[in-house]
């Protein structure tokens, strides 16, 4: 029959006698039962599970992937470099990054955050500081709060007004388009004005201006014309010319009658 039959595993005599012995046949009733069972068995419709399981599995995988991608693209996110911004960032850096933040935040999420920011500002004196999450989601607020302690607010607001008055042309133009004068950058009036998105963005702009152009001289020095001018003269040696000119312009606006030396005119 095969190799095993020739390699000693088969005993010819035993096999022959067994063949003579084993001649039983299946009873007819068993044949009938089995054949009836075979004929009665229904052909399953989904014979091979793999035939329909694979396409279904692929479709489910692709659908799930698309859903995840859509979810990710529609979820507002903050780019990692935004978290690297520090309160001491320079004017140009902050100004350059501002549009990027506006692009990142969706309009809905941005308005919602601004409303929450304004609500928080209303009670900022008596309430604890806003949560870390809020500060992280709103870069303007994050930049603003550490720079301006509540105790110095009156002085800073005045500086903001001065800064707005000497701000570059594009900023003033933007303020004019919004129908608001730069000198209206009073936070209280803004909050009472209805907390609209335009007002909110204007408030944020004013805050940025406040941060963007810090005065060279301390507030107490700026109370006196002589001391302030002396401070400006002293800063000429160490500070950039643009900053000194800005400070001098603010000084002239504050003290228009002050007689400056002929060298500075």
């Amino acid at each position: 029959m095969n190799d095993e039959r020739d390699n000693g595993t088969t005993d010819r005599q035993v096999s022959d006698i067994y063949r003579e012995l084993a001649d039983e046949r299946v009873p007819q009733r068993l044949d009938d039962k089995v054949l009836r069972m075979a004929a009665g068995a229904k052909t399953p419709r989904n014979i091979i599970p793999g035939l329909w399981m694979k396409p279904i599995a692929w479709a489910a995988t692709i659908g799930l992937s698309l859903a995840i991608v859509l979810e990710l693209t529609q979820t507002p996110s903050i780019s990692p470099d935004m978290s690297a911004l520090s309160p001491s960032m320079s004017v140009d850096e902050t100004g350059a990054l501002a549009p990027a933040r506006g692009e990142i935040l969706s309009e809905t999420a941005g308005n919602d955050l601004r409303d929450r920011q304004l609500q928080a500002d209303d009670t900022a004196v008596s309430e604890p500081p806003p949560s870390t999450e809020l500060r992280e989601q709103d870069p303007a607020r994050r930049d603003f709060k550490p720079k301006v302690p509540r105790a110095e607010m009156p002085v800073k607001e005045e500086a903001a007004a001065q800064a707005l008055s000497v701000a570059p042309e594009p900023v003033e133009a933007a303020a004019a388009e919004d129908g608001l004068a730069a000198t209206d950058a009073d936070e209280g009036s803004f909050r009472r004005a209805g907390k609209t998105a335009a007002v909110s963005s204007m408030a944020v702009t004013a805050e940025k201006m406040l941060i963007a152009e810090p005065s060279l001289c301390p507030a107490d020095v700026r109370e006196s014309a002589d001391e302030w001018y002396g401070c400006i003269v002293a800063k000429r040696a160490t500070s950039p010319k643009e900053a000194v000119d800005t400070e001098l312009a603010a000084f002239r606006k504050r003290f228009p009658d002050y007689r400056v030396p002929a060298v500075d005119r």
Binding site: N2, L21, L30, A38
Partner: protein
């Protein structure tokens, strides 16, 4: 020869709904399988039940059948597993057997057979039924199903050398039984 469909092709045709293909397949293997079960479990009623159970499983498994292995190997693996399950269910079974081939004892309807041959059959039958289950299983798979040592090992789930050893032991015992003088049995 090439016009005769092989077992796997018949099974695949039956899977697709061709009942006639199953009948052809059944007629090829029914008697050998029946003898295998009859001598393996040594009880005619049990053999009948196991026979139906085996074919029932073959019928049920047609949907998942793959022609990756020889159909005979598949069929006798199912039969072997059914027998093992039967042994587990009825542990007392191995201590007694009811099947006794009357034809082996009296020669049946064959008047011309010699007395010596008749006695040899009788002794072989008794020796076969007295073999350990594993050796009897191996011998029957070899004789009735025509399986090779490798196929027997695959069906019974043992190593090739183990299957070969079992078959040799079985043949040796049966040969000794046949060769015994008539007066000793």
């Amino acid at each position: 020869m090439s016009s005769i469909p092989d077992d796997s092709a018949l099974m695949l045709r039956y899977r697709d709904g061709d009942v006639a293909a199953f009948e052809t397949l059944y007629r090829r293997h029914n008697d050998a399988l029946y003898r295998y079960l009859l001598r393996l479990c040594r009880h005619r009623d049990t053999a009948d039940d196991l026979f139906q159970e085996v074919w029932g499983k073959i019928i049920k498994s047609r949907a998942s059948y793959r022609a990756s292995a020889k159909f005979t190997t598949f069929l006798y693996r199912v039969a072997h597993n059914c027998f093992i399950d039967h042994l587990r269910r009825n542990k007392r079974h191995t201590n007694s057997f009811e099947f006794d081939d009357e034809r082996a004892a009296n020669g049946g309807e064959q008047p011309d057979i010699s007395t010596e041959r008749l006695l040899a059959r009788q002794r072989l039958n008794q020796a076969l039924l007295a073999l350990p289950d594993e050796q009897r299983d191996t011998f029957l798979l070899h004789e009735e199903a025509g399986l090779t040592i490798e196929q027997i090992a695959a069906v019974t789930g043992c190593k090739r050398e183990t299957a070969k050893s079992r078959l040799r032991y079985a043949n040796s015992k049966l040969r000794e039984a046949i060769a015994e003088p008539a007066g000793t049995s």
